[in-house]
């Protein structure tokens, strides 16, 4: 066998090489084709929604009037989630990378990863059955004492099924993503920078402020953007928690809707033009998340030589 393959360069091994590398390349190209196909088929199936007469679309005022309130609702929910999750996630990441005792650190990291493992529908059920009920009195309090702010305008929802509750559930879901990415970057801070800061007499917090955070800034930004991408596209938490309605500024009344939840709630029973409208809404969501993710990835690649978040 050995002698034949040595003397015969056209043997089976050579063909195997070609087939194997060809298969590998084909698999890679298939992924590109799938991503292209996602865009293509969404566009094809969505076209009727754009060309149909305005009064046939749900709401009767055309696709644009239908889509913009739920785009705004999606952004509101995602922003609430990020405002809550970002500081906590950075704190947790710092705790695991710089504060927790060495031996506990990896175990604690695993505990936070468990948060990411819990399926989204269970978060939705938890938010609807437990969190909404528990948090409703707090909304009453907010409406009474901070009601002059448009976002806390009363009367508060008595069930607690509001966009703020949905945002809180979303924040729990994006927390592990931001945490695990920022933790990796914090751990990559050059040891010498940290030790130099400590040797100059800095306290631990000053060391973090001077050495760790500046080093990790691009990584934190991109981690937050990836969290934003997840929060924008998350479906179940909103579909189960929010009792949806028209766009309102108040976060503690029922109302508002997100694209993903709108699709999930209506698609199974939809037919004809409604399917096209919902697929078009999905296309809008796809474009938004694609943009957010590409910017995040671009930031990471630009700082690739410094950070480990690639």
């Amino acid at each position: 066998m050995t002698t034949t393959s040595l003397t015969n360069p056209q043997g089976a091994g050579r063909a195997g090489d070609k087939v194997f590398s060809g298969a590998a390349l084909a698999a890679g190209c298939l992924i590109l084709a799938v991503l292209f196909g996602v865009a293509l088929f969404l566009v094809i199936q969505a076209i009727p929604a754009f060309t149909a007469p305005a009064e046939d679309i749900q709401g009767g005022q055309g696709f644009f009037a239908y889509i913009w309130p739920i785009v705004v609702g999606t952004l509101i929910a995602a922003i609430i989630a990020l405002v809550i999750a970002t500081p906590v996630a950075i704190g947790v990441a710092l705790f695991i990378s710089h504060y927790a005792p060495r031996r506990l650190a990896s175990g604690l990291g695993y505990v936070v990863d468990l948060l990411a493992a819990i399926p989204s529908v269970i978060y939705g059920a938890w938010g609807a059955a437990f969190l909404a009920k528990e948090i409703a009195p707090a909304y009453d309090w907010l409406a009474k004492n901070l009601g002059w702010l448009p976002i806390f305008h009363g009367p508060a929802s008595s069930t607690g099924k509001t966009i703020l509750t949905a945002g809180i559930v979303l924040s729990v879901m994006v927390l592990p993503i931001i945490t695990s990415l920022t933790r990796e970057i914090f751990l990559q801070t050059p040891k010498l920078h940290e030790e130099a800061a400590l040797a100059l007499g800095a306290t631990r917090w000053e060391m973090i402020k001077m050495a760790v955070l500046p080093f990790a800034r691009p990584g934190i930004i991109s981690a937050v953007m990836l969290g934003l991408g997840r929060a924008l596209g998350e479906t179940m938490a909103v579909a189960l928690v929010l009792s949806s309605g028209a766009l309102t500024a108040s976060l503690i009344q029922s109302g508002n809707q997100t694209i993903a939840a709108e699709i999930a709630l209506n698609f199974p029973e939809a037919g004809g033009l409604k399917v096209a409208t919902l697929i078009a809404a999905g296309l809008v969501l796809f474009v938004i998340t694609l943009g957010v993710n590409m910017v995040a990835r671009w930031i990471i690649t630009r700082h690739k030589e410094f950070s480990g978040a690639n």
Binding site: L35, F41, A100, R204, R297
Partner: protein, 369 residues
């Protein structure tokens, strides 16, 4: 406060101007007592006690430190309190979710026939009887469990070869070519595709190719593959990258072809990491609800054919039982079934996560040291 707690023994000049070692414990004790006292005035509950005590603890420790040690040390203490506090806050939802699922799910899961029967023929009439007359809650998750296993299995069969081959291309053949860089970039972008968009893609694809309204388990499997492939590629790529180059070079030096080197040397070395990555990817997609909702519909009876007919799955079962209870007037039996299914799903996901860790440890290559 400072004077009463200062230890009586003489202190060395080195530790002057520092808080004594027992300071945090003393402040914690005072904070707990004070917190209990405040809560007793406005009505006691354990959650409020924890919050009030934590705030009192942070304020007390930072204030004391500012008085004795100066502002820099005080700021350091404040940062420590905030960082530890944020970790504890992050634990709250985890504990709360698991507790809620356990408490609500156990009654469902111990109902006889819960794991072995489907929802076929179970109507609101039976649920009303169960609430009024104390009859047992009928119906179970067998059809959903079966559907989840079939859909996930098919998705794995599609994703693993594609994902693994792509990872091999990127690591072994890519050489930083433009194709390889494009694939890397778009795989990263793909990880961010919202799950519902993946479902819509699969639905739109099959609507266009097979016919409008095509909803089967296979469509759902395609949707899940879109979500699963990038995860498999990323984890396998990482694992192939850490295979030492010396192993490849040793194989080449013996005259082994590249493809045989990859199959016989590189992959066996990395197999533990690849297998655990695949298991984690399965754990990720097994709980996906939205893509299955728009691609496989929801069935109430057992469907053994992935390629024909609507199919139930655990996540969509939970979703429909909560949102559209079998008996709208008495939603309790439905919510009991939903929580039971949630418990089963969470156990499945945790087992897969645990399995991934075990695989990584048990099949790790022997380092010879």
């Amino acid at each position: 406060m400072t004077s009463t707690l200062t230890p009586a023994r003489k202190r060395s000049a080195l530790t002057k101007g520092q808080l004594p070692k027992f300071a945090p414990y003393a402040v914690l004790a005072v904070a707990l007592v004070l917190g209990a006292a405040i809560l007793a005035l406005i009505g006691f509950n354990a959650f409020g006690w924890g919050i009030v005590s934590a705030i009192l603890f942070a304020a007390g420790l930072v204030g004391w430190s500012a008085a004795v040690e100066g502002s820099r040390k005080a700021k350091d203490k404040l940062a420590t309190c905030l960082v530890v506090g944020s970790f504890l806050i992050a634990l709250l939802p985890l504990i709360s979710v698991i507790w809620t699922v356990l408490v609500n799910g156990i009654p469902g899961i111990i109902t006889p026939g819960f794991l072995g029967t489907s929802m076929n023929g179970v109507t609101g009439v039976y649920d009303n009887k169960a609430v009024e007359g104390g009859a047992p809650v009928l119906g179970g998750i067998y059809h959903a469990l079966l559907g989840t296993v079939q859909i996930t299995l098919l998705a794995t069969v599609i994703s693993v070869p594609v994902g693994l081959l792509t990872a091999i291309y990127l690591v072994e053949y890519g050489n930083d070519r433009s194709v390889a860089r494009a694939i890397t970039f778009f795989v990263d972008v793909m990880t961010g595709i919202p799950s519902i968009v993946a479902g819509l893609f699969a639905a739109a694809f099959f609507f266009a190719v097979v016919g409008p309204g095509t909803k089967t388990g296979a469509v759902a499997a395609v949707a899940l593959s879109v979500l699963m492939i990038p995860v498999v590629v990323r984890s396998s790529e990482e694992m192939l990258k850490i295979v030492p180059n010396e192993l490849r070079e040793a194989a080449y030096a013996l005259g082994v072809r590249k493809w045989r080197t990859i199959l016989k040397v590189v992959i066996p070395t990395a197999i533990s990491g690849i297998a655990s990555g695949v298991t984690l990817a399965i754990a990720r997609v097994i709980g996906e609800t939205a893509p299955i909702l728009v691609t496989a519909g929801f069935a109430t009876s057992i469907n053994n054919n992935v390629f024909g007919g609507w199919m139930a799955s655990l996540p969509t079962f939970i979703y429909t039982q909560i949102l559209n209870p079998t008996s709208p007037s008495n939603p309790d039996p439905s919510s009991q079934r939903a929580w039971g299914a949630a418990l089963v799903l969470i156990i499945l996901v945790m087992l897969l996560n645990l399995g991934a860790r075990l695989i990584a440890r048990v099949f790790a290559p022997k380092t010879g040291r």
